[in-house]
């Protein structure tokens, strides 16, 4: 039994777990208690948010608070819920709590008491916080905190996470809980004879202190990841020996708990029933309306898209300009040597490539968390569930797909709220197909080679229509591959939609700001590492060549420049062009030429394909370097003119003919040419397996598409 003896050790802080149903206001309480002293990560083996924070209790005692995912019971149907079970059923778990802070919405107390009564039976010291005391006052709900505490034998405090009311009392209660000795109250649930037998056998066999914990092992053995295969087998054997019907017993248990605590709660709560239509219902009459509902949703999505697409461009330009002037400053004070190049073209460029995504991530999460906080997102799931189910996705996936139109990175990060793993994975896998803003420069340069700039019927610009076509193809690719993944991917998780549509509430801005801060921080630290390493590798590939070929290339270029009387900028461009040809990237470009010739590409395009793995828009910069017009920088017009002049030495015809250009366009619609997206997918799926699969199928589809197009039109 846990008691005061274990507390004095100063080395280990005590762990208090925050538990409750979804929508009980848990994260607001977490933020109130911990402030910015939080650490966000993943639970081991799964990509479920793990939030840890430090709380100063009274008299300077510091405890660790862990925010466990919201759940309705201890019989999980999703990954998030399984995390809760695996911690609470395993006394040896790193996060097994010394005490529990249970948050219940006092305006819906009956519903919030099922999990409460289950957790109470685990024999862990617990404080019950009746949250939303302010809302209860507004709704004329009167409750007797003392009576509830007495009836359930649990210290109880009424709080408001929103206003911070009574948090001092809550801290005092927690402090008492962890300093005073604790005797577990009698089990609330009355076991049946079979349950008693099974639970006693398990308790004895595996030395478990608590009978309800043992019952959880029996009920959930297949979902307990900490149990060895052998133990799971033994438990399953026991279950079948005793003829124990798991589901039927779960239902019976839930029923019995409700039957017992509902009358107890009725005595402690007075509610004046009103037949008044709540404001939530009034809002939903419009917001989930057959016609207006989807319309409002798409209007909101338009705002989201516009925000990430347009509003972020100003801060992004600032970041870009900042890094450009930093590079310039470094170049002017440091000698012209390899380490300067490493610093500017490798490290600074790599950092810039990470930080450039911050505005888009921050803006998207600002908007998404407002929509989540007020309760709107659940309505979107309700409205689009059927539509998205056909593609194996979820109503929340639409937000990710729309965001992908600006940038796949925040989009992939936003899928975390999709609780069904398969639906989430499919959304992550297909979102990068949607044409993002980085593809636009590539499309702009190439589209001129495919479609003339004329108007149809005097209204529609042909190139504009072609642009729209490219977007359309990308959407079809996303939905089509989602459909395929739906058929291929197997899951044991049964797909449910049983979603609470919470009351509309004004957002808590502290929560929103924390979410934005947290998302940006995770991206910079976690995905940033991968992006940084790949940037350095790409820098090495483009700046170094085998043996002394780079110096030879420079010499050759300088001689050529003097012969042709080139000015300084032209000379530098020429050198850069010759050098990239001599570099490892250049060699790689030539090496892959046989493989890309069926697509209509030469080795120069091959180099650009390799370097633009960093990000699609790098294609333009590389083209400029290869054609020795690097100083023209981002001017797409100059680059297009130069590309138009490029002649295939074998055929004597223009390299960028209709077939090659169309094939390149097709390639860039489909190909996974973005290391940052892959880095984020790695973080969000918890390993390299899925980003590698994604890279292979997207690039495979790109190759196939480009091949078919080139073969038809050449």
């Amino acid at each position: 039994m846990r008691s005061a003896e274990i507390i004095p050790s100063a080395t280990k802080t005590l762990t208090i777990a925050l538990l409750g149903n979804p929508n009980c206001g848990k994260s607001t309480v977490f933020n109130q208690l911990t402030g910015l002293r939080q650490k966000i990560g993943n639970f081991p083996g799964v990509t479920v948010d793990k939030k840890l924070g430090q709380v100063n209790l009274t008299n300077g005692k510091v405890v660790t608070l862990i925010d466990l995912p919201g759940t309705y019971n201890l019989y999980p149907t999703s990954q998030d819920e399984r995390v809760v079970l695996n911690i609470l059923a395993n006394p040896a778990d790193e996060y097994y709590p010394d005490a529990i802070l249970y948050i219940a919405d006092v305006t819906q107390l009956e519903k919030h008491f099922l999990l409460f009564s289950q957790v109470r039976d685990l024999g862990i010291p617990m404080v019950l916080a009746l949250n939303m005391s302010d809302a209860a006052a507004e709704q004329n709900i009167h409750y007797d905190t003392g009576a509830i505490a007495k009836a359930f034998n649990v210290p109880t405090v009424a709080i408001s996470g929103r206003s911070g009311d009574n948090f001092q009392q809550l801290k005092t209660a927690l402090n008492q809980l962890v300093t005073e000795s604790f005797t577990a109250p009698k089990s609330f649930y009355q076991f049946s004879d079979t349950e008693k037998e099974i639970s006693q056998t398990i308790q004895k066999k595996y030395q478990l202190d608590n009978p309800f914990q043992a019952l959880l092992w029996a009920q959930n053995s297949t979902r307990l990841t900490f149990l060895s295969e052998a133990k799971r087998g033994e438990i399953s054997q026991l279950i079948s020996d005793k003829n124990f019907n798991r589901l039927a017993n779960q239902v019976r248990e839930v029923m019995q708990r409700f039957d017992r605590f509902t009358p107890m709660l009725k005595k402690a709560i007075q509610r004046t029933e009103t037949n008044k239509i709540s404001h939530t219902e009034k809002i939903d009459n419009v917001v989930t309306h057959r016609f207006w509902g989807p319309l409002i949703f798409f209007a909101l999505m338009l705002v989201v898209f516009q925000a990430i697409y347009a509003w972020s461009s100003f801060p992004m330009d600032m970041i870009e300009a900042g890094f450009a002037s930093l590079t310039e400053a470094v170049n002017s004070v440091m000698p012209d040597a390899w380490y300067t190049s490493l610093l500017t073209d490798g490290i600074i460029a790599g950092l810039g490539g990470i930080l450039i995504f911050i505005p888009q991530i921050a803006i998207l999460f600002l908007l998404i968390s407002i929509l989540e906080e007020v309760g709107y997102m659940a309505r979107a799931v309700f409205m689009f569930d059927h539509l998205m189910q056909r593609f194996g996705m979820n109503g929340r996936s639409i937000v990710a797909l729309v965001s992908s139109g600006a940038c796949a990175i925040p989009a992939v990060m936003s899928t975390r709220t999709i609780s069904n793993w398969k639906e989430r994975l499919i959304t992550i896998l297909v979102a990068p197909f949607i044409s993002c803003s980085a593809r636009i420069p590539v499309y702009t340069v190439l589209i001129g080679f495919v479609v003339p700039s004329a108007t149809i019927w005097g209204v529609f610009n042909q190139q504009g229509l072609a642009f729209m076509g490219l977007y359309l193809v990308s959407i079809i690719a996303a939905l089509g591959s989602a459909w395929v993944f739906k058929k291929i991917l197997k899951t044991e998780e049964r797909s449910f939609l049983l979603l609470e549509l919470p009351e509309y509430r004004p957002p808590v801005f502290k929560n929103i700001l924390f979410t934005v801060y947290e998302k940006v921080k995770t991206f910079v630290i976690e995905a940033g590492k991968v992006i940084f390493v790949i940037s350095i590798i790409l820098w090495v590939l483009a700046s170094y060549g085998p043996s002394n070929k780079m110096e030879l290339a420079e010499k050759e270029a300088t001689t050529l420049a003097t012969q042709n009387n080139l000015n300084e900028a032209e000379t530098a461009d020429l050198i850069a062009g010759k050098q990239i040809e001599a570099s490892y990237a250049g060699h790689l470009g030539k090496f892959i030429e046989p493989a890309i010739r069926p697509l209509g590409y030469d080795w120069k395009i091959g180099i650009a394909l390799i370097t633009s793995f960093a990000a699609r828009e790098v294609f333009i910069g590389t083209m400029a370097t290869i054609y020795s017009i690097g100083s023209a920088d981002d001017d797409t017009g100059t680059i297009r003119d130069r590309m138009a002049k490029e002649v295939n030495p074998i055929t004597g015809k223009p390299t960028y003919n209709f077939a090659t250009s169309l094939s390149l366009l097709v390639f860039y619609i489909f190909a996974m040419m973005c290391m940052s997206t892959l880095a984020v997918v790695k973080r969000e799926t918890g390993g390299w397996k899925w980003p590698i699969i994604q890279f292979l199928f997207m690039t495979g589809l790109a190759y196939l598409g480009a091949f078919v197009v080139y073969q038809i039109f050449s």
């Binding site: 309705y72 019989y75 149907t77 589901l247 239902v251 219902e281 057959r290 309700f382 549509l501």
Partner: protein, 72 residues
């Protein structure tokens, strides 16, 4: 015996039982119990799911799950 999915929008009924144990466990854990009064508010714009109100709380539930809710 009718199931929840066949209730007309705007109509209420009392839940009798659940015909599937997994659904029962999940719905009961959310406070939707036999004996609860349930009202079908509306159907989803693209079908497939319904918006219900049970004991002063709103829920979205797929037709598949609603089929398992037997009404009195």
């Amino acid at each position: 015996m009718t199931a929840l999915n066949s209730l007309a929008p705007g109509k209420s009924a009392i839940i009798h039982s659940f015909s599937d144990e997994a659904t029962a466990c999940k719905m009961m854990s959310m406070g939707i119990l036999p004996g609860s009064k349930v009202k079908l508010i509306r159907k989803a714009p693209f079908g497939g799911a319904i918006y219900i109100k049970a004991d002063n709380q709103q829920f979205a539930i797929r037709n598949n799950e609603a089929e398992c809710v037997v009404l009195k």
